[in-house]
């Protein structure tokens, strides 16, 4: 199976709640593809609140999320199964 394409969202420094809103918007556009494992969404941010809320929010929608630490922020990988 081919490697999934990545959509990268760099949301460093933006006002709240850009991070969650833009993530949800991207999921709205590419949800089927993410669910099918063809696309992954990578969110990079230093907004602590969204690092704690995005995994929960996308989890409820049936996606997986994985948080890793970056040098001065966080990377959230959102993917299907």
């Amino acid at each position: 199976m081919a490697e999934p394409t990545c959509i990268q969202l760099d949301i460093h420094g933006q006002v709240c709640p850009s991070c969650l809103l833009l993530t949800l918007k991207t999921l709205n556009q590419h949800g089927d593809s993410v669910r099918a494992g063809q696309t992954e969404i990578i969110v990079m941010t230093n907004d602590r609140k969204s690092v704690d809320t995005i995994p929960d929010a996308v989890g409820k929608m049936g996606y997986q999320a994985e948080v890793t630490r970056l040098e001065s922020g966080y990377r959230i990988r959102i993917y299907g199964h």
């Binding site: 460093h12 420094g13 933006q14 006002v15 709240c16 709640p17 850009s18 969650l20 809103l21 833009l22 230093n46 602590r48 609140k49 690092v51 704690d52 809320t53 995994p55 929960d56 929010a57 948080v67 630490r69 040098e71 001065s72 922020g73 966080y74």
Partner: protein, 370 residues
Amino acid sequence: MPESPFFLILVTSSLAGLVAGFVMHRSDFCVTAMFRDMFLFRDFFLLRMLVLLVVASMLAFELGRLAGVLRPYPFPLLGAPSLASLIGGLVFGIGMVLAGGCVVGTLYKLGAGSVAGGVAFLGMILGSAFYAEWHPVWSAFAKATVLTPAITLPQALALPPTVLILPLAAVGAYLLLQWHRQGKLTRPAYTAGHIAPWKAALILALIGFASYLLVGMPLGITTSYAKLGALLESQVWPEHVAQLAYFKALPLAYVAPFGSETLRGGPGPAFDAVGAIQYPLIGGIILGAFISAMLVGEFRLHFRIPQRQYVSALLGGVLLGMAARMVPGCNIWHLWGGVPILAGQSLLFLLGLLPGTWIGSKLLTRFVIR
């Protein structure tokens, strides 16, 4: 002992600010999000944290009052409730959503490196100074729409505060217990050094109580934004600042809990009791959040954000600055200080804040974050 009557106030306010800034950054204790996310995401988690903070403060303030250690009661600077507080709350709600944080929220975000937070901070100083231009008109409106001369609801009903406050706190405590049983007071966290919001709520209630006990009032900072505005404006336009009635007023005149002389202060540019109480809080919150962000290695300035977010932060800041003078007082002052003692101004502010936040959320998703 140092002889300055401000010594205890300066020390208390600095420490309160430092701890509050640190804790708010670690738990991202954002009052704006408490209201906004309810409208945007149907997320009530943070609002439950506010209920916890208010109920804890209600109990602490009421027990402190009964023990006779909270003086003066009600605390200074609260006025008669009028439509000014309701409308001010509405404008405040719009402003805080557009600014991406309330008065205190933008401070801890600024301390952690948020450039938008810094822009909102400048907007608030501008808005506060601008308010001084039309203060006479607004003040006349406030006087004309006073609902009752009583400061608090118990006073208005001629009841002892305990009779109203304890049953209300009991209802709140019952709700909290239900939420606790349903696991609704905690949620998973992935950030470094995270402090659970329920702990932050209790710590902030404790800080508010300590401030009331030692300074004579709970946390409040917005009058000093007008002060900073007056100070800056007087550098370029001293005659104008000197003739504005608003900057001459000294609404604060009280005897601090551990002092003997009357301390006075107001929005004018001179350093007075308002400056002694509020400047250290502002500095403390910024510094506390900065230390917190440095310790987890997350302090970094990011300038490259969409331009419309800078505009939104500035506009939101101006609205916040003006609204905080119209009410008068900010959300921290009213929600963490006034609501727990059922101050009329604070209850009206809260009532206005709800539709304001809703309007702000609509504007934000329509024009700012796209």
